[in-house]
């Protein structure tokens, strides 16, 4: 069997008395989209923060491509191949879409201590940036500061920045949030092609997208993984229906 790209073993995290993540073990295999679902407050974003390094786990191990990253910083983990997008768009507000992507490319290439050559004339940054923006459909908006992009465009730019990192695994926290039906469909189709580049750990509330995309689904409730399986298995699981889906369908 292939080695997992991302491997979590017994990861726990508490905020005071609140156990936000409890003994979570899960893997992300090459080529797959592994969706992480669960009601609000289940601990999905916390788990993403633990994987990306923003939070340190109280216990457990996080392994990326065979390397234990538990003690590493966010930046170190990013360099080892974790490309993340944020639930709430987190971009460089004054930088244009192009400059946001160029920053990711520069990080990928290293050399952020170069003090002489202007980035504007660095074709190893500008050319791939244009290509990546075109891939997500932002080619006409390259020069617009990210703070003046529309909400949907910022979501796409988040994806573009992750693409620029050429990561070993994508960590996408609710990429469809607030995208609208049309935007969500386009993005679903795009993520479908993306798994060929690198597997995706996908937190998503849009169940149409999850059921269309996921090879495997893990369900979180109160910080615990209560079920993992294929889309069909998860839809049929009574515990899941009770904890989450039933509630959604009833609403």
């Amino acid at each position: 069997m292939a080695e997992p790209v991302l491997d979590l073993a017994g990861v726990s995290k508490s905020f005071g008395a609140l156990k936000a993540t409890q003994d979570v073990s899960l893997t992300l295999m090459p080529g797959e989209i592994h969706a992480l679902i669960g009601p609000n407050g289940a601990g999905k974003s916390t788990l993403m923060a633990l994987v990306s390094g923003k939070l340190a786990p109280d216990s457990g191990r996080i392994v990326v491509q065979g390397q234990d990253v538990s003690g590493l910083s966010v930046a170190q983990r990013a360099r080892l191949g974790l490309g993340r997008s944020f639930q709430v768009s987190s971009l460089i507000p004054e930088y244009s879409a192009r400059r946001n992507v160029m920053l990711a490319l520069q990080a990928r290439q290293g050399h952020s201590y170069r003090m002489l050559w202007p980035v504007r004339r660095d074709r190893s940054l500008t050319e791939p940036a244009e290509e990546i923006l075109a891939r997500v459909g932002l080619e006409g908006r390259a020069s617009v500061p990210s703070e003046t992009l529309s909400h949907g465009e910022r979501r796409l730019l988040e994806i573009a920045v992750a693409l620029a990192l050429e990561p070993a695994a994508f960590l996408l926290d609710e990429p469809m949030a607030g995208m609208g039906a049309e935007g969500a469909r386009t993005l679903t189709a795009f993520l479908d092609t993306l798994r060929a580049e690198a597997p995706i750990l996908l937190v998503e509330h849009d169940m149409d997208a999850v059921f269309a995309l996921a090879d495997r689904v893990s369900v979180l409730a109160n910080g615990r993984v209560i079920a993992t399986g294929s889309v069909a298995e998860i839809r049929a699981d009574p515990a899941v229906r009770e904890a989450y889906l039933g509630e959604e369908e009833g609403a």
Binding site: A75, R79, F86, L91, H111, S112
Partner: protein, 326 residues
């Protein structure tokens, strides 16, 4: 006119204006204005240093007087030992050569900035402001309590330190040195800002979490910027000591740190020529209102308040609009 072009022409006017002032002053025999222009150039140089940390990196250092004073004391102490012939520490002799003093001032400032930065850059906001202030105050009280070099009374430089081929006792020549250093620092600032380093640094100011998430450690970039910033301000301190032929602990006081911040804010934080515009306004106020009233700093404070409330981009921002990053 498009705003980038406006800024270009404004910069050109400032650059030429700062040079033309002492030239005209010499022609109409008003040497006072040569000294004043030199003062503007040196304060601008100090603020270009601060502008790297404050403007590009968003690090509100309330302790840059530390590097300004350190540079000043390097010039004063080395001159003092060159004059007396008594060696300094470790048997090293003093020097009255600017080309020796300046690198020493910059290296020492860079070293101290590295220590202060390493201890303070993991904090932010008010904590960072307070730590940088605390280090500068420590140095200030240390200088006051060190009688060997004048303590509270400061230290005089009897004959200005020397520069090959120039008579530095003529203020015009001091102006040329300060102006030259300022131009070099401005070129360096522009290069840094446009290069990958600047791209990372300015991004860290806006969203450090995002920068870390793409794989660039904010701490290292900020520390490097802080060290370069301290070095440039340190150089300016050495020049100021030579201009005044005097160095005292007040160069290290929090007033001086505040003045450097005020200069950056007045001119336009993060803007290439912000420190030049800011230093001109500051020294202008000092002269015009300083002659009329003891309370000129009150009026300056009022102007500062106006800038902070109504014109956040300072002089450069008022004329050339917001900065754009392609």
């Amino acid at each position: 006119m498009d705003e980038t072009r406006k800024e270009f022409w404004l910069n050109a006017v400032l650059l030429i204006g700062l040079f033309a002032t002492p030239v005209i002053a010499l022609m109409i025999d008003e040497p006072f204005y040569v000294t004043l222009s030199t003062r503007v150039a040196i304060f601008a140089l100090a603020a270009v240093g601060l502008n790297i940390a404050l403007g590009l990196g968003g690090m509100v250092s309330f302790g840059h007087a530390l590097y300004f004073g350190l540079g000043g004391y390097v010039a004063g102490i080395m001159a003092h030992h060159a004059f007396s012939g008594v060696p300094m520490v470790f048997g090293l002799s003093g020097s009255d050569q600017m080309l020796v003093i300046w690198p020493v001032a910059m290296l020492l400032s860079g070293l101290i900035a590295a220590i202060v930065g390493a201890l303070s850059l993991r904090t932010s906001g008010i904590f960072f402001i307070m730590i940088t202030l605390a280090f500068a105050q420590m140095a200030y009280y240390f200088a006051i309590g060190w009688p060997t070099y004048g303590g509270e009374d400061g230290l005089s430089i009897f004959v200005r330190n020397q520069f090959p081929g120039l008579n530095t006792m003529q203020t015009w020549n001091m102006f040329l040195l300060a102006y030259g250093a300022l131009v070099i620092a401005l070129v360096l600032f522009a290069m840094l800002r446009n290069a990958r380093f600047g791209a990372a640094l300015m991004a860290i100011r806006q969203n450090p979490e995002r920068v870390a998430a793409v794989g660039i450690s904010p701490f290292g970039i900020k520390l490097a910027a802080f060290v370069i910033s301290g070095m440039i301000t340190g150089l300016s301190g050495a020049m100021m000591a030579d201009l005044n032929r005097f160095v005292s602990p007040s160069m290290m006081s929090w007033h001086t740190s505040g003045q450097l911040i005020v200069i950056c804010i007045l001119g336009g934080v993060g803007r290439l020529f912000g420190p030049v515009a800011g230093a001109a306004v500051f020294v202008g106020f000092e002269v015009v209102f300083g002659g009329l009233t003891q309370h000129w700093q009150f009026w300056l404070g009022l102007v500062l308040l106006g800038v902070v409330l109504f014109a956040r981009g300072g002089v450069i921002g008022i004329i050339a609009g917001r900065e754009r990053h392609g």
